[in-house]
């Protein structure tokens, strides 16, 4: 075991967060899916390392029998092993083949897919307000920023998906998910290489997403609605960072006002983001559920 893998107050609580899946279901939550926002398995997303994820989150998702929506992170693309033949997430200079092997067809399946771990799923087809979830392969862009550039494959897939009524019906609630948060007042700060992907989400009218979910910074943080350049804007898009899934949190609980644009942050507790979806009223309800079961920062979003 690596020295860094010991369970401490601020590290390695992935078993505790995985237990929330069963806890929430037992409490009456009607779970339909789990979005994995990247860096699912440290340090490098290798085949052998995935045993740790599998024993905790993998089992919890299997027991709950819900959809798995995995996103790549930068650590998935840090796999140093040679890419096996046939791996679809092999870009030559980097690959995420451990991720691909573990999650199988999940990152290549949905109402749309680019064959490179960007894809969309639609929940509740036929409901008044179905839920469209679009997952983007932004994990590769740290080493390959061109993939996330304006007109690049990730932004192009996003725009097409948002405009396709079979992927993103006009009455849907729409959630985007990828790893590296474009806007953060914490560890990684604003990330310019993701900016074009964020801006691509600002398509006209009701096709615009209602919520963007990210990870990368190891905390829970909610931004207010932000415009194309990350400025607070009432008609913007809410960004939530759900990066406290187990590996570590950035520090001990901090009760003061969060910095910068951040509307709310929990820097010291592990947990998951619960996204409630009301298919009748067309609403989303978000909250950070801590490892101990506290639901903090409850918010409601009326879908466009």
């Amino acid at each position: 075991m690596r020295p860094g893998d010991q369970v401490t107050v601020t590290r390695c609580h992935h078993a505790g967060t995985a237990a929330l899946v069963g806890d929430l279901a037992a409490a009456g939550d009607d779970l339909v899916g789990v979005v994995l926002l990247g860096d699912t398995q440290y340090e490098q997303g290798r085949d052998a390392e995935y045993a740790s994820f599998d024993e905790t989150w993998g089992r919890a998702i299997d027991r709950a029998s819900v959809a798995t929506l995995p996103a790549t992170g930068n650590h998935e693309y840090a796999d140093p092993d040679p890419a096996p033949p046939g791996c679809r997430l092999d870009d030559g200079a980097q690959h995420a083949c451990g991720f691909e092997r573990y999650f199988g067809e999940a990152p290549f399946t949905g109402t749309a897919t680019d064959g490179h771990a960007s894809y969309a799923r639609l929940f509740g087809r036929g409901a008044r307000h179905p839920l469209a979830v679009i997952v983007l392969d932004v994990g590769r862009c740290e080493q390959d920023p061109a993939a996330c550039a304006a007109g690049g494959p990730v932004a192009t897939f996003l725009v097409r998906a948002l405009h396709d009524p079979a992927v993103n019906p006009p009455s849907a609630c729409t959630v985007l998910a990828w790893h590296q948060a474009p806007w953060s007042d914490y560890g990684h700060g604003d990330l310019a290489f993701v900016g074009p992907v964020w801006r691509a989400a600002f398509v006209a009218g009701g096709a615009r997403p209602d919520l963007v979910l990210n990870g990368h910074d190891h905390l829970y943080a909610r931004m207010p609605a932000l415009g194309p350049d990350g400025q607070a804007e009432p008609d913007g898009i809410v960004q939530v960072i759900a990066g406290a899934g187990g590996r570590e949190v950035v520090g001990l609980p901090f009760a003061g006002d969060p910095p910068g644009r951040t509307a709310f942050a929990d820097t010291g507790r592990f947990g998951v983001v619960r996204v409630g979806w009301d298919a009748t009223r067309g609403r989303l309800a978000t909250a950070f559920v801590t490892e101990d079961g506290d639901a903090v920062d409850p918010q409601r979003i009326d879908c466009r």
Partner: protein, 59 residues
């Protein structure tokens, strides 16, 4: 029934062998009554930055 099953099998095989076929698998609406006090709310969980290499915390 047997003929219908054979037709279905052929359709499935044709789809599986078509390299141009685009996967399209909408998630079905749950068929059971939703929980959460009968509000009709369904729940998606989101989580990132998850598993250390091989360290399990018991609860």
């Amino acid at each position: 029934m047997r003929r219908a099953a054979a037709v279905l099998t052929l359709v499935a095989l044709a789809a599986a062998c078509d390299p141009a076929a685009t996967p399209s698998v909408p998630e079905p609406l749950p068929t059971h009554e939703p929980g959460g006090g009968g509000t009709g709310e369904r729940v998606l969980l989101a989580v990132g930055d998850i598993a250390c290499a091989r360290a399990i915390r018991s609860r």
